[in-house]
Symmetry: C2
Subunit: 370 residues, 2 copies
Amino acid sequence: MTSTPTECRSRRLNVALGERSYPICIGPDQLGRAEPLRDWLPGNQALVVTNDTVADLYLDPVLTSLEGLHADALILPDGEAHKTVASCERIWDRLLQRRFERSCTVIALGGGVIGDLAGFAAAAYQRGVAFVQIPTTLLAQVDSSVGGKTGVNHPRGKNMIGAFHQPRGVIADTDVLATLPARELSAGLAEVIKYGLIRDPDFFVWLEDNLEALLARDTGALADTIERSCANKADVVAADEREQGVRATLNLGHTFGHAIETATGYSSWLHGEAVAAGMAMAAHLSADLGWLSEEEHHRVTALLRRAGLPLTPPQSMTPTQFLEIMAVDKKAQQGRIRLVLQQGIGRAIVTDSVPAERLRATLNHFTGGA
Amino acid sequence: MTSTPTECRSRRLNVALGERSYPICIGPDQLGRAEPLRDWLPGNQALVVTNDTVADLYLDPVLTSLEGLHADALILPDGEAHKTVASCERIWDRLLQRRFERSCTVIALGGGVIGDLAGFAAAAYQRGVAFVQIPTTLLAQVDSSVGGKTGVNHPRGKNMIGAFHQPRGVIADTDVLATLPARELSAGLAEVIKYGLIRDPDFFVWLEDNLEALLARDTGALADTIERSCANKADVVAADEREQGVRATLNLGHTFGHAIETATGYSSWLHGEAVAAGMAMAAHLSADLGWLSEEEHHRVTALLRRAGLPLTPPQSMTPTQFLEIMAVDKKAQQGRIRLVLQQGIGRAIVTDSVPAERLRATLNHFTGGA
């Protein structure tokens, strides 16, 4: 992690993926600067894809930084409900309407929904054009902007249609977090806590010590958190870009969490909230299997609670509903549900051999059964 | 090219793409055999995607060869007009409805339209699942089943949405060509002739000598032709998988041809027919620029004519219409139209520096101008 003043005023982290390697620039005062953004564009055409909430706040400075190029913006409605093939088609229509060529760039300005959606649109347009991420939520800064997973939802499952498509670069401006609603800040912290849980026990302790500073939006603490989280994710992704092995541990809380999001129609729960409840469920099951001590289990739920995150799924959900949705999850294999569970704080394992009655017991515990 | 009796009764050609390498099995009596097809499936779920014309003829033997697995078939309407995102969504819906997992396989049974469409659906389903091609037209056997290009059309341009996604294997059964309409056989020969024109002058001469045998569907001549064509394409693709350079020469006749297909709504012209007219236009322009002798120009048009192919675009098209569609072609760069032209028979070059008035003169010649 070296600082390169001319390109990146703040910290610069490299995601090492061979010829697909790219930088993440982390720090204040990034939006509106021409560099490094313009260096990442292979041509002079750029489409900024954003949503109506973010556009009001940050579209102007981004378009200013692209002045003199053939730049256009497409503003989509805000929300996970719009992460669909239909929204992709709106992006493709605009790109073609403007006669954007193979050398064009799609710039995602927004949270994880915009990043996933615009990333897939870029992956498929003319079989793949350049893509830049400007994440505007903590969750997108620490999670979805690193790793190249793109995609859209299907009524039968989350992120079912997509591609692996690495960005040319990511700009994580800590200033944008000042306007982030408290609920979204908490949702981002869920993924942050996850890195501590799956592979970085020192970071978990650091979070226990610094959570109040993060909730108070201390700029330094936020930049430290983004950098440490991205470094953790980048390590995992570099080791396993296509999720053949260790990358699956990044899905801690996600199998339960995706079931919650699917059951609630991707609308009322934020992704990070669903992951938090999912991590609480995974911790419970891990403790039940004797893999997590009661004291560790307590530390997990305590930190999630302090971060303002939900610890239980919606009470309307049943164990059967969970099982049905989880069986069609991308992580399922031969109909067996694969779960990421914990063996202590800082160590995650992927398993498809949890006894069915233990899984059901956890689901009963969290839903009231039936 | 070695023969491996247990896996591939006939000829087996390897497309060398490192870890994405795959075999093409060429010869009679391939359909309905369990091997090598079943060896290529990573799991036990397979969806055969086909069209109503092909399903009547060949779906049963393919499903028989998958007996005992979780196999399903989706029959789409025949024709280029159905190579759309909407058809992809039908494939994704079916895969999800059947709870097909990441280890499933999509098998394309049909011509180029089915291959391109099912290939893109496979590339994007759960960010990429296994894919097998069983091409049932000569064109698909010699062209679209080799190289990993997948995609669908957009009203504003052909193949605008897609992915590079290599198959696990290709089965080119020469028996299926017995039922191929004469017009489709000719359309396939257009791509065959293209390999002679761009890089294999000996093959061009061989085609001049053996065209009647091919039109009479001589099995040996057809197998020779498929093997030589696939070998040519495989060489080019191995040298340049993502079309950064030499692969673009495979687009001889395609820039003009795509304009014809776009103008006619992808319905009345077969792809190979449009490419044939496009190659005749490219030969005319090459001769006009002094790159092709009049004698060579004549040999090109003579062979295309003997193959039963059209040598001119629809008379309803205007030069302006060509130029407008060609400007938004994937091969365009910075608004400059890139063309593949010939420098003699057996040598193609990619150029974006043809003087505008020479291009317009050729367009005028073929359309009557205006």
